[in-house]
């Protein structure tokens, strides 16, 4: 069951959140954020932009952290605004948040960061970015002690949130 779990949640029309942690915490926190963002947009007739939504997420996580019953979650937040374009933010369970060109969480992430660092350049196209992620997954399949067969991939752009083909063992057959 776990191998088909979708950890990339659509938080609003232009915001995507990838969450690492306990299933219960993931559901609770992501729903809390997304429903609050929805309430904001219904109340006011306009949406919060990515920066503000991420700030809101971080502030809530930081407050709950200091109330003694924290969510133990690592997040990646991806958003698109007309003004700023695409943005990626990483947040960890201690509510430290920073905007980065590429980021990763988890054991697989430890391995991926150096690959991302090597192949990343500004103004990558969606296809190029997908290929770089495939390289990361290839190494995870080869070198990681855990079995992580499937990787879901989603993008967020001016056309909203879209799902790309899942990367699995089959993606590397014949290569």
């Amino acid at each position: 069951m776990k191998v088909y779990e979708d950890k990339l949640m659509k938080i609003s029309d232009n915001l995507l959140m990838g969450v690492n942690g306990d299933t219960g915490d993931i559901a609770q926190f992501s729903q809390f954020i997304s429903k609050n963002l929805k309430l904001y947009s219904v109340r006011n007739g306009y949406q919060l932009d990515t920066k503000a939504a991420v700030h809101f997420t971080r502030t809530n996580m930081a407050d709950i952290l200091r109330k003694g019953n924290p969510y133990v979650l690592n997040l990646l937040l991806a958003g698109y605004d007309e003004k700023e374009g695409g943005q990626l933010y990483t947040m960890d369970f201690l509510a430290s948040c920073v905007r980065l060109p590429f980021a990763a969480h988890g054991f697989g992430g430890l391995m991926s960061v150096s690959i991302l660092n090597h192949y990343y350049k500004p103004n990558l196209t969606e296809v190029e970015a997908y290929e770089i992620i495939k390289l990361c997954v290839k190494e995870i399949h080869r070198r990681l002690f855990m079995n992580l067969p499937n990787f879901g991939v989603k993008t967020v752009s001016k056309d909203g949130v879209k799902t790309l083909p899942t990367i699995s063992q089959a993606s590397f057959v014949g290569k």
Partner: protein, 257 residues
Amino acid sequence: MARRYDTRTTIFSPEGRLYQVEYAMEAISHAGTSLGILATDGILLAAERRNTNKLLDEVFFSEKIYKLNDDMVCSVAGITSDANVLTNELRLIAQRYLLQYGESIPCEQLVSWLCDVKQAYTQYGGKRPFGVSILYMGWDKHYGYQLYQSDPSGNYGGWKATCIGNNSAAAVSSLKQEYKENETTLAEAQALAIKVLSKTLDMTKLTPEKVEMATLTRKNDKTVIRILTSTEVEKLIANFEKSEAEAEAAKKQAPKS
């Protein structure tokens, strides 16, 4: 007869009115005038200063105009102590939003929040309503320059030009005639404000001590809030008096030809 239904603030009269709210608005109509005008390139608030006693120590720069956050300013009319409580609350609301979302609160949200607070005092708690009407001017990225007015009932509205306080009805009708939507620049609005204020003030002559004016504009992606110096106000008054004198002279000339 109405007396029986107005000692408790939170009940309706048989005619369906909330007397305490109406009495609060009555109190405001005796207070110093405040007016606001929305121009194409900015907004201004102008207010009548009532405390012109020479013995008053100049502690506060402005009597009735308050900065709420980097993008909003308000002007009040009514009971000063009530106004202080409300402006403090407005500043708190604005900062709480900044803490939550990392950006300035959009104008209407701030007004709306405070009006919900004001409304609560008309419905429960047994306390009297605030005897203050507020004019707000601000800028946000959603709707640009905005001017709002709120009153003790908790109602608010967006305006292109409006006035609160003493003689406000006369001022509003004057503004209605002279204000040109989408054509009035900030400079023209300043001249118009002085003209309207001179009509509503009790005293015969306008002087810089009796008027305070603040403008809000945008420059280089940042909001610029300025309270005019007395020299600038004096210049505006002088220009106004000159144009009045010219109009008088023109009137005298006309019948002859």
